[in-house]
């Protein structure tokens, strides 16, 4: 019995009227944990009851503490009939189980009902007393910290990065149990919410055990997803990276990488002058793996693509032996591991040695009922198979590890596509084991790794490439070979040398398929998949060239399966890496050159494309330093690669000289227009409208080339569903609809956020789903951050001045159109380390009184501001504490869709409520922000004829406390009082 959970119910407010006669409510509260339930007294006739209960104490195993959520139910007492439920609050007490996180959960929680939404709020205080348990065979893993952030959290240092942890648990979905036919939708929804909460807890505990086994103390890049397999069950699965983390004691000791990453971006300008000669090459980066068949189930493993792969070995004379040594070492460190995968997307300096390219694997499975929930072997085997495939792809690229690794599923009826992708890489062994590999070798390795371009160097054998590729000597160090294009799933390394700014690139694709059953359906899908991947890749490549850039980061390809179609959506952030060669242009070649007008048309198109490239180069400020041809030297002779299927060919430079307009002797990407499809492809290339001036967008953490963020941020979620009108859809029409949907959505975002200009949409995350036959749903979550056009943060001194200036400009903006609740002049998050202040400020909602009545109106909101961002940091601020992960799952259902404003009104309200519940939980933990926030699932189903709709949302993130940098500076200059005054003057009021 190693833990005591204590709960106190303080008060309620804004309760709904439950008794029509008196317009009041007789409310009481049930507090349930595990199988124990306590009740408060009934507080008669009030919408703002003050229960002020005793401490309810639960004595429980820490295993239960990890698995079970605390369940608080608010009810209306009824003497004559059954008590009516007002709503519930589920509180995950996990953050209280490790010492460095929160110590108390206290605050106002929205009371949530799956039918009515939020119905008032309840003030709750929760504490946990943990007793030390020395039992070696314990089943709990209390004390293991979890982070959604896919980099080393800001106030920690990675001692060892152990590697991949994964787990999945399965259960029957309550929605599909026989009992669901007789119980109310509310009961069914609540059973589901509770089950998923329970399964999440169990999953987390099991992963924690694995981490302890590896002697780690934390999981970073924790990604938990659930698969609603319908009849066949409910799968909750998670992956993460086990680490041993050390807390950094003083805030001054933050690694540079731990500040807002923006700051050190600028420290790596184009300061690496070219020295040696390089040779120009080209690659057509496709690698195909063969399919296999599983025995226990029908399954088709899909030909897999490896996007940009490079060899290793004989790149440079000096580099060779070290590389070999390095590989030996790292291999020994990684070989014991089944899967040398890392869910991280950003790494400590020196961790990432080389990047091979994107590796991905997909597999189509037929779902069948999970017979024994305790042994989810089938699902485990499915994933193991895919991971093996990924591992072998990485090996083919001369890499021993996969970073930026993620897994996903798409389910339609009984067909499920499992996908995994990551970036093959060579890692520095130093971080992988317990400091055994120290000494001269490591130093020499590091000496040999030039900053800013090392990760681009090919990790595989040039003479034994898995596919034809163009290699050149690195444009940065001139010593090692680099590919001409690099695709990765990770964030841009902070020390990478980038020219100009980056931009968001999307490839969008739809393919119709016939409706089919079971195996025929799975076969049809798996036959389509390789073509889709291929086209998505071609689109990405074309669009990349059109932007005049040469590398993709944060690449995420989502394939969604529906009844009668497949959708592919790839998003990535394109940049120009200084180490890679300048991309060639795009050449258009007609198939029938005899026709005069046709030729004219072709040349017209060609001109348009060339103009676009030139315009983009200007727009994104891509002016790489000129390198004369003599230095570059002659190209390495390599086998020419031709592929009819692709309609894209690599042509060596001399063949295309006549057509080449402006790109000198660079290789051009040739698009051969031989049919209408190809014509359309070229058209679609040109239809992507660049964002309006003042706007940038990327799907990585930060935008390369922008480093002067202000503190104004706005996180948002936008959802669109379109109904495809005609029944005889063609692929072209479908593509156009999908393209328009995405483009219009982006345009709307730019319009909505126009007051934030100059601004960048960061971490733009598109999710596509096909809820019904003719419906396409696109969900976007991103954060808009305003940046300062003129000022680049340079020294601390000017920084202070700037923050003052910024404060004044923020003030002006506030009058016009302020989007954020706090600006520097209105510091709503003053968390000065001064102990006296911290607690009150941390949970401004923690007290339940209404003192504002006597105070001037509106100046005193008792609701504390909580920022939300999908990024791992908050611009202009330092994260001082991680309070634990937020992982919440909600269901909302309605049987009065029209009355709630139709589907839009219903979903709008629900998402706003989800945000509110996340904020309330964070505030109750004492936090003022959620970082690495992600909406993992937004499943929306409607039945307008029955006036019904249902939606499931799953969100997660890390609750943190942050302090504004400007405030830190004030504190560091020994003026805590000034800081306090400032914050008081700024309108901050604590109740």
């Amino acid at each position: 019995m190693p833990g005591k959970l204590k709960v106190k119910i303080v008060a309620g407010r804004h309760l709904p009227v439950m008794d029509r006669a008196s317009d009041l409510t007789d409310a009481f509260v049930e507090v349930k944990f595990g199988n124990t339930t306590f009740k408060t007294d009934v507080y008669l006739k009030s919408l703002n009851p003050q229960w002020n209960s005793e401490w309810f104490k639960f004595e429980v195993d820490d295993e239960d503490l990890q698995d079970e959520p605390l369940q608080i139910t608010v009810l209306d007492h009824d003497t004559y009939s059954a008590n009516d439920a007002i709503g519930k609050v589920y509180i995950d007490i996990d953050p209280l189980l490790y010492s460095e996180a929160a110590t108390v959960i206290s605050g106002w929680f929205p009371i949530y009902d799956t039918i009515h939404g939020i119905r008032g709020e309840i003030n709750v205080v929760v504490k946990v007393d943990l007793f030390n348990d020395l039992n070696r065979f314990r089943q709990s893993s209390c004390g293991v910290k979890f982070f959604c952030t896919t980099s080393i959290p800001k106030c920690y240092r990675a001692v060892i990065i152990h590697g991949f942890v994964e787990e999945l648990v399965v259960n029957e979905d309550p929605e599909y149990q026989w009992i669901d036919r007789i119980r109310t939708p509310r009961a069914s929804n609540e059973a589901r919410q509770r089950l998923i909460s329970l399964m999440s807890g169990e999953l987390q505990r099991k992963i924690g055990l694995k981490v302890l086994e590896m002697r780690g103390n934390a999981v970073v890049g924790y990604l938990q997803c659930f698969d609603l397999e319908g009849e066949s069950g409910l799968v909750v699965r998670a992956i993460g990276t086990a680490c041993t983390l050390d807390k950094l004691s003083s805030p001054a000791a933050f690694l540079p990488a731990c500040n807002s990453p923006s700051k050190e971006m600028k420290e790596s300008p184009l300061a690496h002058p070219p020295s040696h000669g390089c040779r120009s090459t080209h690659n057509s980066p496709i690698h195909t793996a063969t399919g296999s068949r599983l025995t226990q189930n029908f399954s088709v493993s899909v030909p897999t693509l490896i996007y940009t792969g490079m060899g290793s070995g004989s790149a440079g004379k000096e580099g060779g032996p070290f590389k070999a040594l390095l590989r030996q070492q790292t291999q020994s460190a990684l070989e014991q591991r089944e899967f040398p995968f890392f869910t991280l997307t950003a790494f400590p300096p020196g961790f990432l040695v080389h990047v091979g390219g994107v590796v991905s694997a997909r597999s189509v499975k037929l779902l069948d009922r999970i017979h024994n929930p305790d042994e989810p072997e089938t699902r485990d085997a499915w994933w193991a198979e895919i991971r093996q495939e990924i591992k072998s792809h990485a090996k083919a690229l001369g890499c021993h590890a996969v970073v930026g690794y993620s897994e996903s599923t798409s389910i339609c009826e009984e067909v499920c596509i499992l996908s995994a992708s990551g970036t093959a890489a060579v890692l520095n062994p130093r971080f992988l084991q317990d400091g055994t590999v120290e000494g001269c070798l490591e130093q020499r390795i590091e000496e040999n790794l030039p900053a800013g371009c090392g990760f681009c160097h090919i990790p595989y054998d040039e003479l034994n490439m898995p596919f034809p590729a163009h290699l050149t000597y690195c444009y940065n160090c001139r010593k090692q070979k680099v590919p001409d294009v690099l695709f990765t799933t990770i964030d841009l390394p902070t020390d990478a040398t980038v020219v100009g700014k980056g931009c968001l690139i999307q490839a969008r694709l739809c393919r119709l398929k016939k409706k089919a059953q079971a195996e025929a359906n799975a076969t049809a899908i798996s036959n389509l998949l390789p073509f889709m991947e291929y086209e998505v890749h071609t689109q990405l490549m074309n669009k990349l060239k059109l932007k005049g850039m040469n590398a993709l980061f944060g690449l995420r390809i989502q394939i969604t399966v529906g009844e009668n179609m497949l959708m592919g959506l790839a998003s990535a952030t394109a940049v120009y890496l200084a180490a890679l060669p300048m991309p060639g242009g795009i050449q258009i070649a007609g198939k029938t050159p005899s026709d005069g007008s046709y030729e004219q048309h072709i040349s017209h198109m060609q001109k348009k494309i060339s103009d676009t490239i030139a315009k983009n180069k200007e727009l994104y400020e891509i002016n790489p330093p000129e390198i004369s041809e003599e230095i570059i030297g002659s190209p390495i002779p390599e086998p020419k690669q031709r592929s009819r299927l692709l309609r894209s060919q690599s042509e060596s430079s001399d063949e295309v000289t006549e057509l080449d307009l402006s790109h000198g002797k660079k290789d051009a990407f040739v698009l051969e227009i031989d049919d209408t499809d190809a014509m359309e492809d070229v058209h679609s290339l040109l239809t992507d409208v660049p964002p309006p001036s003042g706007f940038y967008s990327c799907n990585t953490e930060i935008m390369p080339g922008i480093n002067n963020w202000t503190s104004e941020i706005q996180m948002f979620t936008s959802v669109r569903v379109i109904r495809l009108s005609s029944l005889n859809l063609t692929n072209q029409a479908l593509n156009k609809n999908f393209n328009d949907l995405c483009e219009n959505l982006l345009k709307s975002l730019y319009f909505k956020l126009r007051s934030m200009i100059p601004c960048c949409l960061c971490h733009v995350n598109f999710t596509v789903s096909l809820p019904e036959d003719e419906l396409i749903q696109v969900t976007v979550t991103a954060v808009a951050i305003t940046f300062d056009k003129n000022q680049a943060l340079q020294t601390t001194k000017t920084h202070i001045e700037k923050s003052l200036q910024r404060a004044s400009t923020d003030n002006e903006e506030l009058l016009q159109f302020p989007l954020e609740l706090c600006s520097d002049s209105l510091p709503s998050h003053p968390f000065p380390p001064a102990k006296a202040v911290t607690v009150e400020k941390a949970s401004p909602m923690g007290e339940g009184n209404f003192r504002n009545r006597s105070a001037p109106p509106c100046a005193n909101s008792t609701v504390g501001v909580v920022k939300m961002t999908p990024l791992s940091f908050i611009p202009g601020a330092k994260i001082t504490k991680y309070l634990g992960i937020i992982n919440m799952f909600f269901i909302r259902e309605t049987t009065s869709l029209r009355e709630e404003g139709g589907v839009s009104g219903f979903l709008h309200a629900f998402i706003a409520e989800v945000f509110a519940m996340v904020r309330a939980h964070v505030a109750a933990l004492g936090g003022n922000a959620v970082v690495s926030y992600i909406m993992k699932q937004c499943v929306f189903m409607e039945n307008p004829n029955k006036n019904q709709a249902q939606c499931l949302i799953n969100v997660s993130g890390d609750a943190v406390i942050f302090v504004r940098e400007s405030e830190l500076e004030v504190i560091s200059t020994q003026q805590p009082t000034a800081n306090c005054q400032q914050s008081c003057a700024g309108g901050e009021v604590t109740t």
């Binding site: 407010r13 804004h14 106002w108 939020i118 309006p692 706005q714 996180m715 948002f716 936008s718 959802v719 669109r720 569903v721 379109i722 495809l724 009108s725 609809n737 328009d740 949907l741 219009n744 345009k747 709307s748 975002l749 319009f751 126009r754 419906l775 749903q777 506030l814 009058l815 159109f817 302020p818 989007l819 954020e820 609740l821 209105l826 209404f850 504002n852 009545r853 006597s854 109106p857 509106c858 005193n860 909101s861 008792t862 609701v863 501001v865 920022k867 939300m868 839009s904 009104g905 979903l907 709008h908 309200a909 998402i911 706003a912 409520e913 945000f915 509110a916 904020r919 309330a920 309108g987």
Partner: protein, 369 residues
Amino acid sequence: MTSELDIFVGNTTLIDEEVYRLWLDGYSVSDAVALRVRAGILEQTGATAAVLQSDTMDHYRTFHMLERLLHAPPKLLHQLVFQIPPSRQALLIERYYAFDEAFVREVLGKKLSKGTKKDLDDISAKTGITLKSCRRQFDNFKRVFKVVEEMRGSLADNIQQHFLFSDRLARDYAAIVFFANNRFETAKKKLQYLSFGDFAFCAELMIQNWTLGAVGEAPSKPDSQVDDMDMDLDKEFLQDLKELKVLVADKDLLDLHKSLVCTALRGKLGVFSEMEANFKPPAPQNLSRGLVNVAAKLTHNKDVRDLFVDLVEKFVEPCRSDHWPLGDVRLFLNQYSVTVHSLDGFRHQALWDRYMDTLRGCLLRLYHD
């Protein structure tokens, strides 16, 4: 391809002031889009009409969700669903409860009942304000009235606390509630020249001096049945006003009063002769008689309602027809009320001051073209 669903939810709720204004003005989404297009927003931003339509719908939906909270502004402050900066919350409330001058002049002094609500169609047609906006404004008046009518204490303060208005708006609403409660007639043709501001000014003076709350009696009489001290006129005071009749009924007093006023103002007044003539008993436009009679009649509810009509008929119009400059009116009224203190035979000095100080302020405000 049709958009089935199209939403945008920010962690901080986006409020577009322009769209908010259109929504408050009662325009439909399509009208609002058309108005925004006409304002040139497409050219400024390079957006398409579809984008504008989607944006407008989105804002309208947000406002619709916020409206429930705006009905009880403290709820807006405490709710957790919409994260809105305090300055924006204040703006939302202030604009929501703002009213049109043309509308308030139609409704001022009318009972805020269903009957009046039925007339909103006519008001809408007459003023050109959309019916939707009229309804919102009317409901706002009624809501504020309902909340504060049973409350003790200062009317404006109560309003401010329960609706979180700015000072200015709280005082305006105090006037509206006060007028609605006392049903002062403001719609007569001869009162049309008066603005809401004129009435609000008078209301404030009357609340300050003529209500129960004004004399601070209530706390000493906790058992009194009078709850809404600031809303109802002090009945005893109105009864007492009858005593002032002596000023015109008693010939000696009247003459003395007249001579004192005339002596003091001789040479200072451009309209001296007209003023003097007005003191004569048989004169049809006897100013003094008019003012005192107004006071004496205030015992009847009907006459209370006609207060402003009487003031304009008995004082403003006569002076105006004689072309009194405002300065002269002020001098006269000052002298007229001050000299009563020198009338030895007159015992109701305090009563006179309470009546006349307020009335003087009102008359000066009402005296314009």
